[in-house]
């Protein structure tokens, strides 16, 4: 049995880099793939962050509806407890489950927020898990043991992210560090591909999803070497050597794409997708320090003041923000979330602004973020867009999401650290997430050598279901991307809507919200988002 649809995930892939690599002949398989298919921008979530974005892709829903709100999120709207990203946060059904309900099997490799693995008909080996826990967090329970026995050269340590190596690569990397670190990612991607091929031989599925996440890691660290728009006029020496190493990684990804097409491409629809795009970031905005400077946040006395922006690079996914909640009106919980929470009395605890002041305060804060958070040298705004939670997170999980979400002028991530300055230059130009990701589709009925207008991550799941000839659940937010297909194919292959999706792993906890939110709750109830 061969798969009918394959989601070939390239975490953070962007046409900015891929087009350059194709033009240089570094990715010949991708060049052919594009020629035989259709491409367009795949717009990400707000914010364009990995756990939210991949979760939108696999559920066909935006974050407020699927429940995955970040690497770290509050446990529920009524508490100050936080939890790490996991499959238990899904309030929406995944595409793996949707195809199961229609009698098809699914396989999922290296997707974030998939641990513990959902018990689907098929197999799931989650991403973002250290090797020690892969066995326990995968499905079926014996899948890792089976791979150890049956797949020559399989090493679970190579499959997982080596977080220590990741840290080393970020902090003061040298040429040798780059070489070994890129080598690790090349080995990891090959190992994931070997797992894919082995699983498809031993236990084939109809829908296959795999994410190669080294693209994101390389681009974060080596953006300066990959973005053709900022290549030095006369590149030489170390620059050329590092760039060549980074290109080797992309040569590997291209070779793996070539193998997937050769193995399954004669019948399967293959959707190359990224969860977000990428661009250059040159500065760090210390958002909590700005909030403190404006009187919105009060630090605890013991919270250390950092002056060196590079120290931010050593930070973990979650660091407790050292502010005094009783004297804080607004704060950012985690770096990378770019989300501001407003401290409302009676919401998570008894500190913060009175509930009746919420709307006025939120408007005031949004306005201040846009007009008063400025580059001290040029006076230009550092923040270009502020989204309310209704705009960014509409759905049952909205009340657990940040009240305001920021887009910075260079699309970078904020820092939550206490510093003496509000803004600093990054020591090196880095890569950061951009809302425009990629979609390149190839398969039966799909047009050739064509481009489409931007579509959204939530459109991928319904499109994959359509490609498999399955019903599309009526309540998905996304749509089938019909413009991928030839008119003749659309005429002979009807799009069939089915019943609603089922619930995910988690059930949203209704918030103890302030009175003025009642109207929104009522609207959500009317739409069936809350009961």
């Amino acid at each position: 049995m061969k798969p009918q649809a394959i989601i070939f995930g390239l975490d953070g892939a962007t046409f900015t880099v891929l087009d350059d690599l194709v033009a240089r002949g570094i990715m010949p398989n991708l060049a052919r793939f594009q020629h035989e298919g259709v491409r367009g921008h795949l717009m990400s979530t707000v914010p364009p962050l990995t756990p939210l974005a991949w979760s939108s892709l696999v559920t066909g829903r935006t974050p407020g509806q699927h429940g995955v709100l970040g690497f770290v999120q509050y446990t529920d709207p009524n508490t100050t407890s936080v939890q790490l990203v996991s499959s238990r946060q899904f309030t929406a059904e995944s595409i793996w489950s949707m195809v199961n309900r229609q009698g098809k099997r699914a396989g999922s490799l290296n997707f974030v927020a998939h641990q513990p693995a959902p018990k689907i008909d098929g197999w799931v080996i989650p991403g973002w898990v250290s090797w020690r826990w892969m066995k326990r967090l995968s499905h079926p329970a014996d899948v890792i043991e089976q791979l150890k026995e049956e797949l020559p050269g399989f090493d679970v340590k190579k499959l997982a992210i080596d977080f220590e190596e990741e840290r080393k690569s970020v902090v003061g990397a040298r040429m040798d560090d780059y070489r070994s670190w890129i080598g690790l990612h090349i080995e990891r991607e090959r190992q994931w591909f070997e797992v894919l091929r082995h699983m498809m031989r031993q236990d084939p599925v109809d829908l296959l999803g795999i994410v190669f996440d080294g693209v994101d890691k390389l681009q974060h660290l080596l953006w300066y070497y990959l973005d053709p728009r900022i290549t030095p006029e006369k590149p030489e020496g170390e620059y050329l050597r590092i760039r060549e190493m980074a290109w080797d990684y992309f040569r590997t990804v291209d070779a793996l794409l070539g193998e997937v097409v050769e193995l399954y491409g004669n019948k399967a629809t293959i959707l190359i997708c990224s969860d977000h795009g990428f661009t250059a970031t040159r500065e760090i905005l210390y958002i909590n320090s700005w909030l403190a400077s404006m009187g919105y946040l009060t630090w605890k006395e013991e919270t250390a003041v950092l002056d060196d922006g590079t120290q931010e690079l050593e930070g973990g996914v979650y660091r407790q923000v050292g502010f005094d909640a009783s004297r804080t009106k607004a704060y950012c919980l985690t770096a990378s979330s770019n989300g501001i929470y407003i401290n409302v009395k009676g919401r998570r605890d008894n500190t913060g602004i009175p509930a009746q002041e919420y709307e006025r305060f939120r408007r005031e804060l949004a306005n201040a973020l846009l007009t008063k958070c400025l580059d001290p040298e040029t006076g230009e705004p550092l923040i270009t867009k502020v989204s309310t939670r209704e705009e960014a997170y509409w759905g049952p999980s909205m009340n657990n999401a940040p009240d305001l979400t920021l887009e910075l002028r260079d699309f970078g991530f904020v820092s939550v650290r206490r510093t003496s300055c509000v803004r600093a230059d990054r020591p090196l130009i880095g890569g950061t997430h951009h809302p425009e990701g990629i979609l390149i589709a190839r398969g039966p009925g799909i047009r050739k050598n064509a481009c489409i207008d931007p579509v959204h991550l939530v459109d991928v799941a319904p499109t994959a279901l359509y490609a498999m000839g399955l019903e599309i659940p009526a309540d998905l937010q996304g749509r089938v991307i019909e413009e991928l297909y030839t008119p003749e194919y659309l005429v002979t292959h009807n799009l069939t809507l089915g019943g609603d999706t089922e619930a995910g792993e988690a059930v949203p906890v209704p918030a103890g919200v302030p009175d003025e939110d009642t109207e929104i709750i009522e609207k959500m109830k009317a739409l069936g988002y809350l009961e």
Binding site: V72, T75, S81, V82, Q83, L84, S86, R88, Q115, P116, W128, V129, S130, R132, W133, K135, R136, L137, F163, E164, V317, Y318, Q320, A506
Partner: protein, 101 residues
């Protein structure tokens, strides 16, 4: 729901920690004083997987990041099996100690 006793949770926890160690030394006696990092050889990043494994096993969400943050604030050099057990018995929905409290 069946009430989870401390002994029952301890057994489950040790099984879970064993799973994370391919080279588990069966002669090691695990007590409440055994450190999960220094003595059982987990690395700091394994805390993330441990959190998911515990949540998956006990089928509920747990405030694990706060537990780890508090340990860091207290400058603990290691987290013992006993401390993990205390955390679980405080937070697991079906725990005997939570029911009494």
């Amino acid at each position: 729901m069946q009430t989870l006793t401390r002994e029952r949770v301890r057994q489950d926890l040790i099984e879970l920690l064993k799973d994370a160690r391919e080279d588990w030394d069966t002669s090691v006696t695990v007590t409440d004083q055994t450190g999960i990092f220094n003595e059982l050889g987990l690395e700091s990043i394994d805390a993330v997987g441990l959190s998911s494994a515990l949540e998956g096993h006990f089928e509920q969400t747990l405030p694990f990041p706060e537990f780890m943050s508090k340990a860091k604030e207290q400058n603990l050099k290691d987290i013992t099996v006993g401390q993990l057990l205390d955390f679980l018995m405080t937070n697991l929905d079906g725990s005997a100690e939570r029911k009494v409290a």
